[in-house]
Symmetry: C2
Subunit: 340 residues, 2 copies
C-alpha cells in the first residue's frame, strides 16, 4: 500500500509500505475512505518536534473494515467506521469515566500512520464506532473531522463548561478552534467570541456560531475580552494552540471561577504557580477523549445538524501529501484532506 512518511523537517514523502495485517486478536484492518493532515503534524514538519528517523504519519481516519481479529465482536468487514487518535479498550476504569485517550491500554494511532491506504487499528472493539449504513460521500469529510479536530474541539468546549448563560472565548483559529466554536454553539453558549485575524477563518467562525470576533492577541486580546464581558472575563475559554502565549491568554481572559479547556498540545509551556493560584480558574484539558463523543457526533453529522467537514478547505490525492503539508504550514489551508 502507499502511505505518508516524514523524513525530517519539511521532508514528506509518499512511499510503498507493507500492507498492515491483523497482528493481535483484538485488531482490525481498515481501508481508509479519507485521511488528513493535523495541525500537530506541523510541529515535526517545522522542526519543533524531533523525529527519530523516517516516521509514518497521520492519526485521523475513517474507512471500511477489511479484516478483523478473532476477538473482535462489535465491528465486521464492510462496516464504515470512525475511531480516535488513541486506540482504547473502553472497559478500564479510566475509559468508563470518559477518558479513553488515557486508557491504561491506550495506543497512539500516530505511531501506526493513517495517512495511508490501509491502517491497523488496535483494540478495535473499544476504539471503532460504526456509522449505520453506507454514508453519503458528502458526509465523509465531516465524519473524518469527528476522528480528531471535531472531537477535540468538542472536548475543549465541554472542559471549558460552555453552555447556556455562558460567554465562551476561543483562542486559536485552526480547525480545532473553529470546531470549538461549533461545539460551544451546540452546547448552548449564549455568546461566542472567536479570536482570529484571518478573514476566511473569521467567516467560518461566524458560520459556526461566533457572535463576536476579536483580532487582538496577548494582553490586548485579554483586555478586549474583559471589555466585552463587563470587566469580568469570559466564563469559558477554549485554548487550541499550545504555546506559552496562548495558554496565558486563555487563563487571563477567564473570570475567577471560570473554566479553561485546553487542547493545544503544550510546547515549552510553563505555568506560573502564583498567577494560576490567584486566577481562581478551573483548568482542564489534554489529549481529547474523542471516543466518548463519537456516538453523539456521528448522530449530529448524520442528521446534518452540524457540518464540521467545512474545515477541509483543500482536498488532494494521497500522493500529493507534501503539497497538503506545505499549504497548512503556510496557512494557505485551514485543513487538508487526503484521498487515498
Amino acid at each position: 500500500m502507499r502511505g505518508v512518511m516524514m523524513y525530517g523537517p519539511g521532508d514528506v514523502r509518499v512511499e510503498e509500505r507493507p500492507d498492515p495485517v491483523v497482528e493481535r486478536p483484538t485488531d482490525a484492518v481498515i481501508r481508509l475512505s479519507a485521511a488528513c493532515v493535523c495541525g500537530s503534524d506541523l510541529w515535526p514538519y517545522r522542526g519543533q518536534d524531533r523525529l527519530d528517523g523516517p516516521t509514518p504519519m497521520g492519526h485521523e481516519y475513517v474507512g471500511v473494515v477489511e479484516q478483523i481479529g478473532s476477538a473482535v465482536t462489535t465491528v465486521k468487514p464492510g462496516d464504515f467506521v470512525i475511531g480516535s487518535f488513541f486506540a482504547s479498550d473502553n472497559t478500564c476504569e479510566i475509559c468508563r469515566a470518559g477518558y479513553q485517550s488515557r486508557c491504561i491500554h491506550a495506543e497512539l494511532m500516530g505511531t501506526i500512520g493513517t495517512q495511508a491506504e490501509l491502517a491497523r487499528v488496535p483494540l478495535a472493539d473499544g476504539t471503532l464506532v460504526a456509522v449505520p449504513g453506507t454514508p453519503d460521500a458528502g458526509l465523509i469529510p465531516s465524519f473524518l473531522a469527528a476522528s480528531d479536530v471535531l472531537g477535540t474541539g468538542w472536548f475543549a468546549a465541554v472542559a471549558a463548561e460552555a453552555g447556556p448563560g455562558k460567554t465562551v472565548a476561543v483562542v486559536g483559529d485552526g480547525a480545532v478552534g473553529l470546531l470549538g466554536v461549533l461545539a460551544a454553539k451546540q452546547l448552548g453558549a449564549d455568546r461566542i467570541i472567536a479570536m482570529s485575524r484571518h478573514e476566511p477563518r473569521q467567516q467560518l467562525a461566524v458560520e459556526y456560531g461566533a457572535t463576536d470576533i476579536v483580532t487582538e492577541r496577548g494582553d490586548a486580546g485579554v483586555a478586549r475580552i474583559k471589555e466585552l464581558t463587563g470587566g469580568y472575563g469570559a466564563h469559558s475559554v477554549i485554548e487550541a494552540v499550545g504555546t506559552q502565549e496562548s495558554m496565558m491568554q486563555a487563563i487571563r481572559a477567564t473570570r475567577p471561577g471560570g473554566h479553561v479547556g485546553y487542547v493545544g498540545v503544550a510546547h515549552d509551556v510553563s505555568l506560573p504557580g502564583d498567577e494560576l493560584f490567584f486566577s481562581g480558574v478551573h483548568l482542564h484539558g489534554g489529549p481529547a477523549p474523542v471516543r466518548q463523543y463519537l456516538p453523539t457526533l456521528i448522530d449530529l453529522i448524520s442528521r446534518r445538524v452540524i457540518d464540521p467537514g467545512k474545515v477541509f478547505d483543500l482536498s488532494l490525492p494521497l500522493d500529493d501529501a507534501a503539497q497538503a503539508y506545505e499549504a497548512m504550514d503556510r496557512r494557505k489551508a485551514i485543513k487538508a484532506l487526503l484521498q487515498p
Copy 2:
C-alpha cells in the same frame, strides 16, 4: 488596643495600636473572641515572603460586632460573627458564582491584621455571617477554624470533587490538610488517604475520617497512592502545601480525568505544560471562597456534627504571639489560637 506586628523574619511583637474605627459606611468593627496564626503567616516569618516594613498580622477572626457603618444592615452590635480572610461585597457576578475571594471589590483582611483585640471589617454586609444566639465558649475554636482553615480545606475538597465512590488523597498534614480530610468525609468520600509522617497529625487525620495513612513523599508517595488505587491514582487529590514538590505530587497521584483541588499558596511553583497536558487531570484551586461555605459550616459546627477546633493544639494569650509563631514554625503545634 493591642495587636501583633511582624518586623521581619522571626521578629513578632505585640504592640499598642490605634483602635480601629468605622471608616466607610459599609464597615463594621468587631471585638475578637479569638484569633490565630496561619500556616501562611510562616512564609514571611521564615523570610520566604518579603515584608515592606513592620506589618500588622492575622486574617482569621471571630468576634462580637461593636460598631457598624450607616449602610450596614445584616449584622448589628452584639452579634457574634465570622468572616473570611477576604472581605467581599457578595453581590458582584463573581461573588454570586461562589468565588467571593475573587470579588471585584475584595479586600484582604491580612492587610488589616486580626491578631488583635479589635478589627475593622470592610463590606460587612457581604463579608460577615452571624451565628444565631451566643455560642458556647467550647465552640469558639471551631468557629474560628471556619474563618480560614476549615473553609479552605472544604473548598479544596469541593474543588477536588470529593464525594461518594471517590478515593481522595490529601497532600499536606497542616490544619488545612487535616480539615480537607474532614471535608472529604463530610462530602461522602469512600476512602481518604492522608499523607503524613507525623504521628499526632496522623491520629487527628484518622479521627477526621482518614482510612489510610501514607508516610512516603514525592515519587515514592505517588507510587504508594497508585498501589492503593489499582494502579489508576486517586480520583481526587487535595494539595495543601504550595511547593513545587507538593503540586507535582498531587498532579501525579491523580488519575486521568480526576481532580486536583489546590489551596497551598503557591511559592516558586512552575507547572510543566506538557506533563500537565498528558496528565488529563482537572486543576482548580486558589484562595478559597470561604464566604460561600460559612452558612453550611456554622450549621455543622453548631449541631456538633464536626469538631474542626481540634486543630488548635496550642492556646496562648495574645501577648504571647511570638511563642505561638515559634511553636508552629518548629512544628511543635499544628495551629495556635490566640486569646485577645
